[in-house]
């Protein structure tokens, strides 16, 4: 026999001020928790989704990212000797995509253009769509001959001037108008934050003779390691990484955010624990006689203990729900868009903070723990109430 649920529920209601204040404390902690985890998680997942194990990214040796890499055409051509590269059915052309990365400053939508972000502009050839297999062009792609570009969906959402039909000025002298003719998605990966155009056209516009990088697709089942060794070796002398390696390196600087996040959330959760403990101690003290009565009529110490834990967990979960709602409201009104540089790229990765079910579950789980830990000692005290003494006390 356990105490009825409504008993605990009513006890919370009776002490409505202190219950309400504690719910708000938990809600504030959970709101921040959701936001921070959402922030770190969104950035992390946008970098992590970009991992095609068959794809290699080749840079100049010494370069740390595509934006500061430069590959001469003769160096690039050496990549053709790699046997493991997937070939295009029919023509048999190797699936190696030469690419050039430049940047354009575009206004951030979220602050009405007060500040501007560096948005990556990638010159690609037709091969790119075969190499980057997760790219889906939405609408029309750029025509090779024309001054046209397509925008990644994240970039289009977060940076100004990327509506279809709008024109952005690119080129070394910023004097070449390129029209946005379509969008593309990249399964949520970092490429979605970029603008893509036709490589020869952009190289011409930027007066460049060198590529920034090359991406290649390996044959199914081909091991990446020997290919990387071959590319890094004396014959080619470039630097290859799997796509996962490349982006996980770019994700390195989010560690400090994760660390800050964990520290902040931990400190505030501790504060919530103490606050709940405080309230529960007071509740136990105020109900000593009631507890003694329950013990007298036959409830066990364990049942009393469980009851108090249940009350605290209920209170915390209420707070958590409010916190999640608060966070969702914040994201909906203040905005969910963010952008951030990778560790060594000079281009913004745009991402959106989402309150995923995972985050909500994590928040509820942590908060239930917070409530239980906070109530543990008060509940322990309640369970050990000495019946006779308590009943005698005024």
């Amino acid at each position: 026999m356990a105490l009825p649920f409504s008993y605990h529920w009513r006890n919370l209601l009776v002490r409505k001020t202190t219950t309400g204040l504690n719910i708000l404390v938990v809600a504030a902690v959970v709101g921040v928790f959701c936001w921070l985890i959402g922030f770190a998680g969104a950035l992390h997942s946008s970098l992590a989704t970009a991992s095609d194990s068959r794809k290699l990214i080749v840079l100049k040796s010494g370069a740390t990212s595509e934006s500061n890499s430069a590959i001469r055409t003769d160096e690039y051509n050496k990549l053709n000797q790699i046997a493991e590269v997937e070939r295009l059915p029919g023509s048999g052309a190797p699936l190696i995509s030469p690419e050039m990365i430049v940047q354009v400053q575009l206004p951030r939508v979220r602050d009405q253009g007060t500040t501007r972000a560096n948005v990556g502009v990638r010159g690609v050839t037709e091969t790119a769509l075969q190499v980057h297999r997760n790219i889906k062009v939405l609408g029309r792609s750029f025509a090779p001959g024309a001054q046209e570009v397509i925008a990644g969906v994240s970039a289009a959402k977060q940076f100004g001037g990327l509506e279809i039909g709008e024109t952005i000025h690119l080129g070394y002298a910023s004097d070449r108008p390129y029209r946005i003719v379509g969008y593309f998605s990249a399964a949520g990966g970092p490429l979605e934050s970029e603008i893509w155009g036709y490589l020869p056209s952009l190289m011409n516009a930027y007066n460049r003779a060198m590529y920034s990088s090359a991406s290649m697709l390996l044959q199914p089942g081909a091991a990446a390691e020997p290919v990387i060794t071959q590319i890094n070796g004396p014959a080619i002398q470039l630097k290859a990484q799997t796509e996962a390696q490349y982006w996980s390196e770019q994700a390195k600087n989010i560690r400090i955010y994760l660390n800050i996040t964990y520290v902040l959330v931990a400190i505030m959760s501790l504060a919530a624990i103490f606050s709940i403990a405080n309230t529960m101690f007071s509740s136990v003290a105020g109900r000593t006689r009631e507890i003694a009565m329950l013990r007298t009529i036959g409830f066990s110490g364990v049942q009393i203990l469980t009851g108090f834990l249940l009350e605290a967990v209920m209170l915390s979960l209420l707070g958590a729900v409010m916190g999640c709602l608060g966070c969702a409201a914040w994201l909906a009104t203040v905005g969910r868009t963010k952008d951030m540089f990778g560790a060594t790229t000079f281009t913004s990765l745009a991402f959106e903070i989402q309150l995923t079910p995972m985050i909500i579950l994590a928040a509820l789980g942590c908060v239930a723990l917070v409530g239980a830990v906070g109530a543990l000692f008060p509940a322990w005290r309640a369970a050990r109430v000495q019946v006779v003494t308590a009943l005698r006390e005024a």
Binding site: A28, V32, T64, T115, K252, F274, S275, T279
Partner: protein
């Protein structure tokens, strides 16, 4: 015995509660003082930058697009009498890293002649300047990298560039600047970089940005417009902005930590207000009768009000000191230096942040006390005493 003594005794009445509240108050307060220190540091840097009256001129497209180094003469030509600008310093990104380390330093090649004028806040002594002018490999380094790599003045260091053509250059450190506004920089002479680039037949002398030291805020505004007008519709169209606007573009791209910290600070204040308010409510409720007795034996309502208020403020003060003092002490002895955000190389608690934190705590204490204190003041003695039986 005094009223203060009675107050202190009240806090000792329920030691457990006082302790729990103080801790629940102190923890967010520790977050608050750190967050505010961080924000305060940014505000201070922004103010310092504003005072320096510097304009940055970079390519309209992005900072990575080069501007010809001849643009400096053209900018100087806008003010031949030097009534508005003091000097123009061209800078080129080197992106050098210490070999075998992953991250590039904020290393910039700067025009040797004008650098000491444009960055006057680095406090170069005449000897420093002379050394800088004489030694082509001279480098001036901020505290950040100097501490990370244990560099000393007079040391020779090698940096390899992370941008094409990936030059590797060696430098003589002639000065380690302790200017807290410029902690994460590595400056060296642009003629050294350009000459080295020439040796490998890389393209000619160019700059990523020109920093102009202006003489007044009005001069800044007029120059800003004139420069952008001068370059409009040329291949080298520029975007000219003051230093704070320039920095703001990056702050956003670096996760907008100052913004995050501001929100955190606000949330923390909310939490501590709730925690303190909760305790004061509980404490008031348990002492209703006692307060009624106070009133019965002749304590005036305002006095009862201030007793509760004082208790609340005292609790908040204890809680905040418990949060602020250890945090400040800890960061004083173990500054978090691995943390690099823009110009900030370490987090340490500033006196301003301590003052702000304690003030906020005081306000929170007052706020938390108001409602219970008001209720205590309005307490109907007769009703409260009757509730006894």
């Amino acid at each position: 015995m005094t009223i203060t003594y009675v107050l202190m005794q009240n806090l000792r009445r329920n030691r457990l509660r006082t302790a729990l509240t103080a801790i629940a108050f102190a923890l967010p307060m520790a977050v608050f003082v750190s967050a505010i220190s961080f924000v305060a540091m940014f505000v201070r840097i922004a103010q310092a930058n504003e005072k320096e009256l510097r304009l940055g001129v970079h390519h309209r497209t992005t900072l990575t697009n080069y501007l010809p180094d001849g643009l400096r003469r053209k900018i100087e030509g806008l003010d031949p009498q030097r009534t508005r600008l003091s000097a123009v310093c061209g800078m080129r990104w080197f992106g050098g890293r210490v070999p075998e380390t992953p991250n590039a330093l904020t290393s910039l090649a700067a025009d040797a002649d004008t650098f000491p004028i444009v960055y006057s806040e680095l406090d170069l002594t005449p000897e420093d300047t002379a050394l800088w002018q004489r030694d082509k490999r001279a480098a001036i380094v901020g505290m950040g990298p100097a501490e990370t790599y244990h560099w000393k003045v007079g040391q020779r260091v090698v940096l390899e560039s992370t941008v094409p053509p990936y030059l590797s250059l060696d430098f003589n450190i002639i000065k380690i600047s302790d200017n807290e506004m410029r902690t994460n920089f590595f400056y060296f002479r642009r003629d050294y970089l350009e000459d080295s680039l020439k040796e490998v037949n890389a393209d000619g002398a160019r700059c990523n940005i020109f920093w102009i030291k202006c003489q007044s805020a009005e001069a800044m505004r007029s120059l800003q417009e004139e420069i952008d007008r001068m370059t409009a519709n040329t291949p080298d169209e520029t975007k000219t902005e003051d230093e704070n606007a320039f920095v703001a573009n990056f702050t956003q791209a670096l996760g907008d930590i100052p913004g995050l910290m501001q929100v955190m600070a606000a949330v923390v204040v909310f939490i501590i207000a709730l925690v303190a308010g909760n305790t004061m409510m509980m404490s008031f409720r348990e002492r209703t009768r006692e307060l009624a007795v106070f009133k019965a034996i002749g304590f005036q309502a305002p006095r009862v009000f201030s007793i509760i208020m004082a208790e609340s403020v005292m609790l908040a003060t204890i809680g905040s000191l418990l949060g602020v003092v250890p945090t400040a002490t800890f960061l004083l002895f173990f500054p978090i230096t691995m943390f690099r955000f823009g110009p900030i190389s370490r987090i340490e608690v500033s006196p301003l942040a301590v003052v702000v934190s304690l003030t906020i705590a005081l306000l929170v204490g007052l706020l938390a006390g108001v409602w219970p204190a008001y209720q205590a003041m309005r307490l109907r003695t007769v009703d409260a005493l009757r509730r006894v039986a």
